[in-house]
């Protein structure tokens, strides 16, 4: 489902909108991983496609290859 969280930027109220089911949020056909908007705009989003579970950080792979952590 869509989640809204308020936060403040220099005294102005913003809303962070995201999906708690790992989906993009969509407004006017545009996908956002997470959408932050001035609260006064009252922007509404719908849930879109699933986002990937998580990327493998290449720097972690590089560390392993160069003799860092053991697998």
């Amino acid at each position: 489902m869509i989640v809204h969280e308020h936060f403040d930027v220099n005294g102005r109220d913003f809303v962070r909108t995201y999906s708690d089911s790992g989906r993009f949020v969509v407004r006017e056909g545009v996908e956002y991983s997470e959408a932050c908007d001035p609260a006064e705009f009252g922007r509404q989003y719908t849930e879109g496609d699933l986002m990937p579970e998580g990327d493998t950080d290449p720097s972690e792979i590089l560390g392993i290859l160069l003799g860092g952590d053991e697998i």
Partner: protein, 247 residues
Amino acid sequence: MAVDKLVDSTQLDADLTSVANAIRTKVGTSASLTFPAGFVNAVEAIPTGGGGDITYDEIMSGAYQSVYITIGNVAPVAHAFAYMRFKGIRWDWTSSATSGSRAGIFEGCPLLEYLVMPFFTGKFDSSTSWDLARNSTKLKTVDIAMIGISNRSFSGCTVLDTLILRNSSRVTLAHINALENTKFKSGGAGGTIYIHKALYDHLGDGGSMDYKAATNWSVYEGYGTITWAQIEGSIYETQYADGTPIT
């Protein structure tokens, strides 16, 4: 020492300056060069090429660290140039599509100062194509035409302070993390974003073309770290960030 030639010192200075300028252009520096040692050292530092293959080891050793590379109309692949050691990259990939599975193309390039992609007017799909140039810690200037900036594209580019957004439409920022830990961050030194006049004129009107009101961009506007500027009338009207003229 034999003193047996008369020279026109003015002409000699001009000729030496001409040679020095040619060397500086070739190696990508603006530093002064002493004669003859500086000239010799700079020329000897030019990577050997002459049409032979460039090896991965050469690139990673820093042999091309003062070099701009220009890539033609070739589609990138994920991590194609990640961690490689170039000073600047210009990629002339021509596409208007939404492109997936191309994560980290220029991620972690430790020497990269300029990134120019003038003909890619599509966007990288945020579901599979994040981290475009993440953690390229010398990246200062990005000159792009894409319509969307995906997750963490420039996250960790700690000296990034100049964005040239050439798309005629307002560019989408998929997540505020795309510019995190750049000079645009909260409390950061700030930077300049160049946009076309047609968009610049909408700044502050709250409409669909207003960057200041746009999703995620509005947060950075709230930080007070963006100076908006017009491409028209700037040096970027006639040249790309790598100094090449716009034709």
